[in-house]
Amino acid sequence: MTWKLIGVEFVVSVWTIVTLGADILNLPRRNRLWLLALAGLSLAAIVLALQPPESLGESFQDMFVVDGFGRYFKGLFLVIAAVVIVMTREFEDRLSAPLGAFYMLLFTALLGMLIVASVNDLLLLFVGLELITFSLYIMTAYLKTDPRSVEAGMKYLIIGSIASGFLIYGVALLYGFSGSTHFPSLHKAIVSGVIPLSAQAGFFFVLAGLGFKIAAVPFHLWVPDVYEGAPTPVVAFLSVGSKMAGIIALVRILYGVFLPLHGLWMDTLAILSAATMLYGNLAAIVQTNIKRLLGYSSIGHAGYLLMALSSGSSLGVSAVGYYLLAYLVSNLTVFLVIVAASKTIGGDHLEAYNGLSKRSPALAGALFLGLLSLAGVPPLAGFSGKLLILLAGAQAGQLWLVTIGALNVALSLYYYLMIVKRMYLGTPINPSVIRVHPVTHTTLILLVLGIFVLGIFQNPFLQQIQSAIENQQWTRPQFPNAEPP
């Protein structure tokens, strides 16, 4: 019974050893390792797809729960990992250290994400998050000869450790209040009695710890340097996967446990959301390095996600699910183009992108669509996500927040268009043509297709998300702004 529930996690943990062993035995060759990694992911995907619905349940003393919500995000995590592996294939000659170990770290981080998707206990949440960040600390500093990469890893480690400290301190306080770290017991304790100040403080400490993971203001300080210094595939993994894990944890905690205290956190999240959106998008305008710019833009996106979370409605949670999916395809498109282009154009400075459309129309076109989708332009994926979030915000009656969110669309469009301007209107320093490997090319086509499909046919995906959260015990009864029948 238990084994059926953790099948996906089992495959992924086995693969950490497989990739490491392959590296030691030098079998297969270095430039074939990515195929091995992809094979592991496919196996995990098959196991996930074959998990029969009746096998859903809890295990490990209820610490681990497999439900529709978790399975939806597990699927997304596997997609992210697959694209990151394609990026790593493109990037591998720039990674000097052992490649097998890199894939191993990728799988441990993925394992952490899969665990976070299924947590039902604060301690397991801590374990999952630490698994993610510890792997990412090492991956960030993987370019050992590049001082910026090492600095990024160091910075990430220090600030990340502080965040973990916040998180575990909050967990301790909550344990002191309820005598359990288990979500349902915590929920029971909150519903049944008065909540002392220490428990409230514990709650906010946990919130702060998760704020670091999703890069929300004022816990965003690590973002720009880490995004600039880390290897690009790691940045992509960080900006999509790690953020998604943080958001899932927030949803599980805020909606699964603390929904009765909605009044306590709604305004806090709303204010954080406004600050995060404004800071991220304003600071992005002046950047000159594309990865740094995307770091600030990812802060802006965290702001939108917080807006949806602050709504406290099931529409808000659906919007989060949709937005993350849209963010996944758009952001991975952008990063894949950066990885594919950076070797030839030489660096991540924005000037290097001058005249990209003349050197590679395909890469420029994909980057154009990815950026516009991030900005939220129809008929692309980001538009649907942003619209759902704004709708959820409006339905929760937070018109001031919706106003800020809507104005940020225009703000972010400005700096995304500045990149587009360089690509299409600038003259290239070096007019040589950029070659794109067929694997990268195919992945890009699939991602761009996803951007269009998500932007035009919202209903199938939205229904999928809605049905995933419908089975949650935590949705309907407590929701203050429940949808009409």
Binding site: G397, L407, V409, L413
Partner: protein, 522 residues
């Protein structure tokens, strides 16, 4: 009665763009043929729509409905009423002649037509959608292609050889302004959706719901203001107009044609359709302010146009001046003035498209648009000069052109409520005559200049066809406005009646219009 006309109009440019994106970039002939045939198909269907519009039944016709996101009340709902069918025809005409004019584009032809056809589809989508979600969807979709279209194929605006502003600046300003306007309107639309409690984005259902459960007056006023400012950006209502003249000036001629001809009308159309159509109390409160602002549009735009030396800037400012008349007609809440406003959108769209096509040809041949450098071109380009004179006459509202009929209707309809604005409007017509005649004199008349000896006239039948089409329709409507006015009037009356319903139970004594423009009520 469901016919596929509207779906064809919307999909034809998109399919065209898809096919073009699959063609090799060297296949210029194929690319152009596909673009021409898809826009011609749109024009034919648009004609079919307006000819088959049933003025007895009125209301939205040719509806197509597909459920899209049922849980949020979003449906893919297309349909046209009298106003939108006229604007669809306008867009069909401008888009078709724009594609013909685009034969002058020689670099990156494939990408150009992909963006251009996407733009065409977006604008059609706005006019055809009767679901607020898709209305907004297509509205934004129409704005974004402008960025590359102006940025890549546009031209800097120069004065005496010095760049006054670059195309990069113009296109960024245009895109950001229009997006800003769009998101402001979006806030209003979301607020409307939530506060109406109707749980539907469908315009017809929303309207019914709001009729039965009207919103509080203060809420209506706030939402109306958001929509007015948001759509006022694109209309372009003074003081939100500053993107428009420079955007027009920097754009390639076919894009200026669509832009000044149709895109600006999206703003006034959205104000009529959504703001006035859904929020009668807001309309009563804010429309007098609009009447005041549009006087600024008319006079300020006109006076600035008089001072310009770049041909496109003259027409650009004149467009924002003329949109003032449209807004004036919209602001009166009489069906007569609204008829005039819609007809003026139509007439002005064709006239501006004609003017920009003409200027585009001159610029292609002489490589300058700077008025002091030009002169005597009538010797070399008699056909274009004729078109230019006709555009000038139409623009200054000479009888015989559709503009005259429309402006007269606006003035007569607005006289009762805003006599001062009408007086200013008449002054504005004199200003128009001044700058248009100045433009024509400076460009075409005078002795032939030796430097322009090699300049050629528009000789290919294709380009002549596009000029002839625009002029022909302007003259036809100008001489026989009745059929088109009948179609507009049916819808205008229902909008005005809805807006005036609640607080004015006794019917206002209608001013009897001059007999020959009187539209019989079926």
């Amino acid at each position: 009665m469901s016919s596929p006309l509207l779906a064809i109009i919307l999909l034809s440019p998109l399919v065209g763009a898809l096919i073009i994106s699959a063609l090799p970039p060297q296949n210029l002939l194929g690319i152009r043929r596909i673009a021409v045939s898809s826009s011609a198909l749109c024009l034919v269907c648009a004609l079919g729509v307006i000819l088959s519009y049933d003025t007895v039944k009125a209301g939205y016709q040719q509806q197509i409905y597909l459920p899209w996101i049922p849980s949020l009340g979003i449906g893919f709902h297309l349909g046209v009423d009298g106003i939108s069918s006229v604007l669809v025809l306008l867009h069909g005409l401008c888009a078709f002649s724009g594609v013909l004019i685009s034969y002058a584009i020689t670099q990156q032809v494939k990408e150009y037509f992909i963006f251009y056809l996407t733009l065409i589809a977006g604008v059609f989508g706005v006019f055809l959608s009767i679901d607020v979600f898709f209305f907004y969807f297509f509205y934004e979709m129409a704005v974004i292609p402008m960025y590359p279209l102006i940025g890549i194929w546009g031209s800097d605006v120069k004065e005496e050889g010095v760049v006054r502003f670059s195309k990069e600046y113009a296109t960024m300003k245009l895109t950001i302004y229009l997006t800003l306007g769009a998101v402001i309107a979006l806030i209003g639309l979301l607020w409307l959706y939530v506060s109406s409690g109707s749980h539907t984005f469908d315009l017809i259902q929303m309207q019914q719901h709001l009729d039965n459960h009207p919103l509080a007056v203060s809420v209506q006023r706030s939402i109306f203001l958001l929509l007015l400012i948001g759509f006022g950006f694109i209309a372009p209502m003074w003081p939100f107009h500053s993107w428009s003249p420079i955007g027009h000036a920097a754009a390639p001629s076919a894009v200026s044609m669509l832009h000044a001809g149709v895109l600006m009308k999206l703003g006034s159309y959205a104000i009529i359709r959504l703001a006035i159509g859904l929020l009668p109390e807001g309309a009563k409160f804010w429309l007098p302010w609009v009447a005041g602002l549009c006087v600024m549009n008319i006079l300020y735009g006109g006076l600035v146009a008089m001072a310009q030396k770049d041909l496109k800037l003259v027409i650009g400012y004149s467009s924002s001046s003329h949109m003032g008349y449209v807004l004036l007609g919209t602001a009166c809440l009489t069906s007569l003035a609204l008829d005039g406003a819609v007809l003026l959108m139509f007439a002005h769209g064709l006239m501006t498209a004609l003017a920009f096509a003409m200027i585009g040809h001159i610029y292609d041949q002489t490589h300058t648009r700077y008025l002091p450098d030009l002169g005597g071109l009538a010797h070399q380009v008699p056909f274009i000069a004729t078109c230019g004179v006709i555009a000038a006459m139409a623009s200054s509202g000479l009888p015989g052109f559709a503009n005259f009929v429309a402006e007269t209707l606006v003035f007569v309809g607005a006289w009762d409520s805003h006599p001062v604005a009408v007086a200013c409007g008449v002054v504005g017509l004199v200003i128009t005559a001044v700058y248009m005649l100045r433009l024509v004199r400076g460009t075409f008349f005078g002795p032939a200049l030796r430097s322009f000896a090699s300049v050629r006239d528009a000789s290919s039948p294709f380009s002549r066809l596009s000029y002839a089409l625009l002029i022909g329709v302007l003259l036809f409507i100008g001489c026989w406005p009745r059929p088109i006015l009948k179609i507009i009037d049916v819808s205008a009356q229902s909008i005005v009646a809805r807006a005036l319903r609640q607080h004015q139970p006794e019917p206002e004594p209608e001013t009897i219009p001059v007999e020959w423009v009187k539209v019989p009520n079926p």
